[in-house]
């Protein structure tokens, strides 16, 4: 697929309007409104407790929504499920579960295989291919509990790749992984963007935002700023998102 470059304004992949969500008494998201266009790679940045993970979960109906509207490719999530790939935090599953890396990647194909049907050889090959793209071909038959944290994250990425979705939402895929894995993951995400897909990543490391992402969504319960990295990722905006204590952005070591 070629990046959209014609005169007509392309349709946003994701539209969020006036989204509200809460945990018990604490309001976590207030009036969150933004749009994400195809062919963009966006970092969702904000302090702890700003509601970054909750934003993803609420958009995907994994967390109750108090109000607002979310549209994926112009329609509700339940109609667009197969177009949306979600990569949850690595810690959200039990890696002691008895299965191997290839099997986990195959799970990404379950929606396409169809319920109550078994995956075939073709599906297995697709899954192997995705593992190879993440540099994990040699670990296909490895028990998932015996993978390192970075390798587990690569398996999750491979599982998202086989879904062949148009919009990817990733919850801290770079948390606790080494430099090699970070590069492998980000190169993969750039390839997706080049194919015209929309990628949004909850990201914690302010040092690398400018290196990897073309758009930034600054979040602290509500949208502080959203747009191209160069315009949005400014000391002033960061100070507003993180509160007064982060006065100056540290220079990024090259």
């Amino acid at each position: 697929m070629e990046p959209v470059a014609n005169m007509k304004k392309p349709e946003p992949a994701l539209q969020v309007h006036g989204l509200h969500a809460a945990y018990r008494r604490n309001k976590v998201l207030e009036d969150v409104t933004f749009e994400a266009m195809p062919g963009t790679l966006t970092a969702i940045v904000g302090p702890n407790g700003a509601g970054k993970s909750t934003l993803l979960k609420t958009m995907l109906d994994l967390h109750p929504r108090l109000g607002g509207e979310v549209r994926f490719f112009g329609t509700a999530y339940r109609n667009a499920k197969l177009k949306v790939g979600y990569v949850p935090q690595r810690g959200s599953v039990d890696w002691d579960f008895p299965t191997d890396a290839l099997d986990v990647v195959l799970m990404g194909l379950y929606g396409r295989i169809g319920w109550f049907r078994r995956p075939g050889r073709r599906h297995r090959e697709q899954a192997l291919e995705a593992l190879a793209k993440m540099g994990m071909a040699d670990f296909a038959k490895r028990q998932i509990s015996e993978l390192s944290g970075g390798q587990q994250q690569r398996v999750f990425l491979a599982r998202a790749l086989v879904q062949d979705a148009d919009l990817y939402l990733l919850d801290e895929p770079l948390a606790g992984v080494d430099a090699a894995t970070e590069r492998a993951i980000m190169e993969t995400l750039k390839t997706l963007r080049a194919a015209g897909k929309t990628v949004m990543v909850v990201h914690h490391d302010l040092q690398t935002v400018e290196d990897w992402f073309d758009h930034v969504l600054l979040l602290n319960r509500t949208v502080i700023a959203h747009g191209p990295t160069a315009e949005v990722f400014t000391p002033d905006n960061l100070a507003r998102a993180y509160g007064g204590w982060l006065r100056r952005k540290e220079p990024v070591p090259r």
Binding site: D103, M107, P119
Partner: protein, 307 residues
């Protein structure tokens, strides 16, 4: 099986079926971290059994089992209600429900036993289980239940694996978490309800928990774990029931638990994936290698963890 009476044969077949079904559903409960939940549900079934008897005034198995299912479900709802509407954690909520429902059941039992004819009701056998009292109808019931559980596992193996490993991702693919939870709870309650007559409310959970835990020591594949757990459950059921029929009046539950515990002990010590013996041997091998070759010469692959 030569020399066994018809009745003894029915009992053994019944326990084989029950153990198989419990072993399969027990794997689901294991990966849902619901081991204690199954214990709470089994205990919560007792008041329903007694109420079912008291309501009719005579012993009718279907009514008593319906009562058991109803009160077990009330117990399950109570646990999730306590957890979601208060600061009480789930394990504490299950502890409360387990003991309160069991206490209520024993209290009702004491009242019913004082009623005329109540002393001969045989309700006491629901506490520790009395497999020897089972008849042909029970065998059919347990075979049907085992067949249903087996069918569900065979047809939707892939769906269960996905749901148990990563429910949030499963929902993203369109596999309803609520539907899977409801199916799981139904299977769990069915197995418990048909099992309490033979194994008893106190020890029923053991037949759900121990086979699954034992199977985990032998395999790294979910399908194999299910198969082994079914095998261990069926084996423990048959062995325990056989011993308990040797002498009239022996309760079945304790013997089944002892048989299951034996399987667990062997798995724990000699299991091929996580057993103690295996771990000791791996450790010795590592130490031997460390002595012969102080420095590792071959390079690690990118991203590979240290062995």
């Amino acid at each position: 099986m030569i020399g066994l009476s018809h009745n003894a044969l029915w009992v053994l077949v019944s326990m084989l079926m029950l153990g198989t079904a419990a072993g399969l559903v027990g794997c689901f409960a294991y990966w849902k971290r619901h081991s204690l939940m199954s214990d709470a549900l089994a205990h919560a079934a007792l008041p329903g059994v007694v109420a079912g008897y008291a309501l009719l005034g005579f012993k009718s198995l279907p009514v008593m089992l319906l009562g058991a299912a109803a009160s077990a479900l009330v117990g399950a709802l109570a646990v999730s209600w306590i957890r979601s509407s208060s600061r009480v954690k789930e394990d504490a909520a299950m502890g409360i429900i387990l003991s309160v429902f069991f206490g209520l059941g024993i209290m009702l039992l004491a009242i019913v036993n004082r009623l005329p004819g109540g002393g001969q009701s045989g309700l006491d056998s629901f506490i520790f289980g009395q497999a020897a009292a089972m008849v042909r109808q029970d065998m059919r019931l347990m075979t049907a239940a085992a067949a249903i559980v087996l069918l569900v596992v065979l047809v939707s193996f892939k769906e269960w694996k996905l749901h148990l490993f990563d429910p949030a991702f499963a929902r993203g693919l369109g596999l309803s978490g609520r539907l899977m939870d409801a199916a799981y709870l139904t299977l769990l309650v069915v197995v418990i309800v048909i099992g309490i007559q033979a194994v008893g409310v106190i020890l029923m959970a053991a037949l759900l928990i121990i086979p699954a835990v034992s199977a985990r020591y032998w395999t790294n594949a979910f399908g194999t774990m299910l198969a082994l757990s079914a095998l261990f459950g069926g084996g423990a059921g048959v062995a325990g029931a056989y011993v308990s029929t040797l002498e009239s009046g022996w309760p079945t539950g304790p013997f089944i638990v002892i048989a299951a515990a034996g399987i667990f002990l062997v798995s724990f010590l000699f299991g091929l994936r996580k057993g103690l013996l295996l771990k000791a041997m791996q450790r010795r091998e590592q130490m031997r290698r460390l002595r012969t070759r102080a420095i590792r010469s071959d390079k690690l692959t990118e991203g590979e963890a240290l062995p």
